[in-house]
Symmetry: C2
Subunit: 214 residues, 2 copies
């Protein structure tokens, strides 16, 4: 891919190729072990060109975690139809999440493993907060929908919703990491497992039915 043909590519396309190569390399080797030589070779460009476009290994890595977070969030957002009942929204979102992480194992490894390494942990935590905030809006909307359609008021305080979102995101992350290491585990199966784990619990909360210790 090098040489004259590569030179005619627009910058955006070239950058995209470098980023693809970087995500693959970081995801499979880890941040420390990944080399810029390897990334340049995989992208079919020279190492100076990678530095020219993306400055440093650190900046390239940060660009990767930003791109992969956006790509994951876009996949989930576009699958969730706001008009559907809450359980169908959750199901669609979970299925999109596990499909995306299964189809992009390198990107998911970058987000779920590599990005938690210093000095990127703070940036990765901010990006993860976006995902948690999105899930919180879905849970909040589901609670409001229940309130409108029934006499029940879930009375989910802001902190309840924040805690539930953390729990759901943590469960999904853990399951996706495990699923990608488990041969034969499909995205559908992962989504169904988490749906069964989570929905009836959340569903009962929406109906104001709380569990309490005796």
């Amino acid at each position: 891919m090098g040489g004259a043909r590569a030179k005619r590519m627009p910058r955006a396309v070239r950058e995209q190729q470098m980023m693809d190569a970087a995500v693959q390399t970081f995801g499979q080797r880890g941040y420390q072990a990944a080399s810029m030589d390897e990334i340049a070779e995989l992208a079919g460009v020279s190492k100076p060109l990678v530095y020219l476009y993306l400055n440093s290994k650190e900046e390239l890595f940060v660009a990767c975690i930003r791109r992969e977070t956006k790509s994951l969030l876009d996949a989930v957002r576009s699958a969730v139809e706001p008009g559907l009942p809450a359980d169908q929204q959750l199901w669609a979102g979970l299925l999109a999440f596990f499909t995306h992480t299964a189809e992009n194992p390198d990107g998911w490894a970058v987000l779920s493993r590599q990005a938690r390494t210093e000095p990127f942990a703070a940036e990765a935590a901010l990006l993860r907060d976006e995902i948690v905030a999105y899930v919180a809006t879905l849970i909040g909307a589901a609670a409001e929908e229940t309130h409108r359609q029934t006499d029940r008021d879930p009375e989910l305080a802001e902190r309840d919703v924040a805690g539930l979102s953390q729990a759901l995101v943590g469960a999904a992350e853990s399951l996706a990491i495990w699923a990608n290491e488990t041969p034969g585990m499909t995205a559908w199966e992962s989504a169904a497992t988490l749906m069964n784990f989570a929905w009836a619990g959340l569903g009962n909360l929406m109906q104001s039915e709380r569990w309490s210790p005796r």
Copy 2:
């Protein structure tokens, strides 16, 4: 604490003090930024003594993640009474988990953040697998109990149980990290949030009531 008095301490006590100082320093500063000087000073011993007892910063850190994992697992195991109904076992286990992580924020930071950093990720993953395996035995036992006491057979395959355990552990980790960063969030509140999220879901599964997409 240095000098003649410290010299009379048995090795086990001295090591314990060094480990306490190490967990505090690693938990608050992170692995990279923590220095052996700081750890020695906090433990009230000389730096050569820390090296003599615990060899290297790497080995000291691995010893910390092993000790903190064992301490967390012991806290949860000793709270869960096998004879109790499944929901009471889960509640007791969650309450012990969130109490332990709230009371040992440095140890929890070491396990949940620092230990995921290379080159410790593999060791930390093995220790986490012990926690997941313990949770899987609880879920498996709950399913068997249901089968004995009712006509229902949850028919939870080994892979279902493994996936549910991953989901529950991931949810608990995520919530505990967030709870320790959220002023005023109590262990009881965290445990109640996760119990409400998880129990009715798991509880329905035990009753063979699965959610399925329409």
